[in-house]
Symmetry: none
Subunit: 148 residues, 4 copies
Amino acid sequence: MDDIHRFRDDSVGYCIEDLSVGMSAVYARTVTETDIVLFSGVSGDSNPVHMNELYARGTIFKTRIVHGMLTASFLSTVIGSKLPGPGSIYLSQNLRFRAPVRAGDTVEARITVTEIIPEKNRVALKTVCRVGDKVVIEGDALVMVPGR
Amino acid sequence: MDDIHRFRDDSVGYCIEDLSVGMSAVYARTVTETDIVLFSGVSGDSNPVHMNELYARGTIFKTRIVHGMLTASFLSTVIGSKLPGPGSIYLSQNLRFRAPVRAGDTVEARITVTEIIPEKNRVALKTVCRVGDKVVIEGDALVMVPGR
Amino acid sequence: MDDIHRFRDDSVGYCIEDLSVGMSAVYARTVTETDIVLFSGVSGDSNPVHMNELYARGTIFKTRIVHGMLTASFLSTVIGSKLPGPGSIYLSQNLRFRAPVRAGDTVEARITVTEIIPEKNRVALKTVCRVGDKVVIEGDALVMVPGR
Amino acid sequence: MDDIHRFRDDSVGYCIEDLSVGMSAVYARTVTETDIVLFSGVSGDSNPVHMNELYARGTIFKTRIVHGMLTASFLSTVIGSKLPGPGSIYLSQNLRFRAPVRAGDTVEARITVTEIIPEKNRVALKTVCRVGDKVVIEGDALVMVPGR
């Protein structure tokens, strides 16, 4: 079973029958200045708190901060790539932004299964991003997962 | 009001006293294949539904789709850049993903003020992304806005 | 065992004791024009066969082709991320370029374990990239893998 | 010979008759954090040794390292752009990874002609990447070159 699992095609995610409450998966990444610039380019968000160091020094953040939606995207990465993974359909995501992230911070995005609704092929997920011990984003997601 | 808006310093957002229910702002953008590739790079999400055309053809989407969080980031762009704009602090965002977006689609992200809570310096926003008439993402956001 | 495996931290690759001849892993991706442009930027290779459509039309390839080293990098992606994965050290890679890849092609990069040399903590791998049934790159790699 | 080389049309490479053993060409480049992020995007390799500083600190490398195939791509840049240059066809490349490269390092990729096989229109090349005096990659390549 273990070997079969090892060769599980990573373009195939979990089926609803494979999921159980408490399952968890993580994506961790150091966010660089490059990521801020590229995200600004694709999102169009060139708000000075992200792009203008002189402006950002005058804010409560004291330096440029990472776009909240870039940090939030790491949650989507775990959901789409790992848990439940490819084949699942993202229905909703709630995000509460708790603390800023700065270039150089390493963000850990963690997804945990909190509820399975088999009659609707849905799974509820707790979604948390941390830098060290500090929660920077928390929220919940709802995903549709195929049955076998 | 419109003219004042047009010529405001775009590094200074609205104060709570300047906002009223029904005010609205938009960011619209054609999402390209390049945006998908770059967003995959910064988010780490190389889920085959975004990156592998042969895989995507076998899904209900029939072709590669845009990352939902990339589309959602356009909402954040309006909030951080236009309404309420720089100086506001993003507290929360709820997203409901209603329909897929594909390379070549032009997304309109619209923010509308729905409630002002002056004693807490907060404003509630309706947040909607459309492709043509079709709603692709809808939700709500809560933002803290400085007073004068 | 299966559940433990499912939550195997994907920042931890296989140990030499976990590997056996015939194990295999894949990364598949549609190569876009964007990938060609970005790879040209990071590699410095702006050879006209990749970047100049008018020039490329006059070559045996008839259109711009993907940089061979970009296609080859997908092999490295499988080795570094999946098999043997993080913690392994890439010692060598031989590449034979068999056929061109063009923008829009979906490349499948497959790694297969061909030999295990436990006394040296090394594993030999067959490394093949295909577009459909056609082999575009083939070769071998040697990787050092930690013991338990 | 040097002057001729300097003013050659850079979309026209050497013909087999123009090459002689010992000819050499170089591409040198400082590899930045941006290059690592962009290469991760186009290759799909977001292995934590490249992308997660906290993880990388716990490895023998002590910090994030550059993808080996990004460094190797500089060899391809010399071959495709300078020696033999445009019009040549890359047949094979052997790579031995000798030492890590880190963001901020300046890599010199050097190609030297080691053998000419005129009856097959092929040329053998020694391919070496250095950071300062340290060899980081070495290997050999075989290239097909047009005749006059």
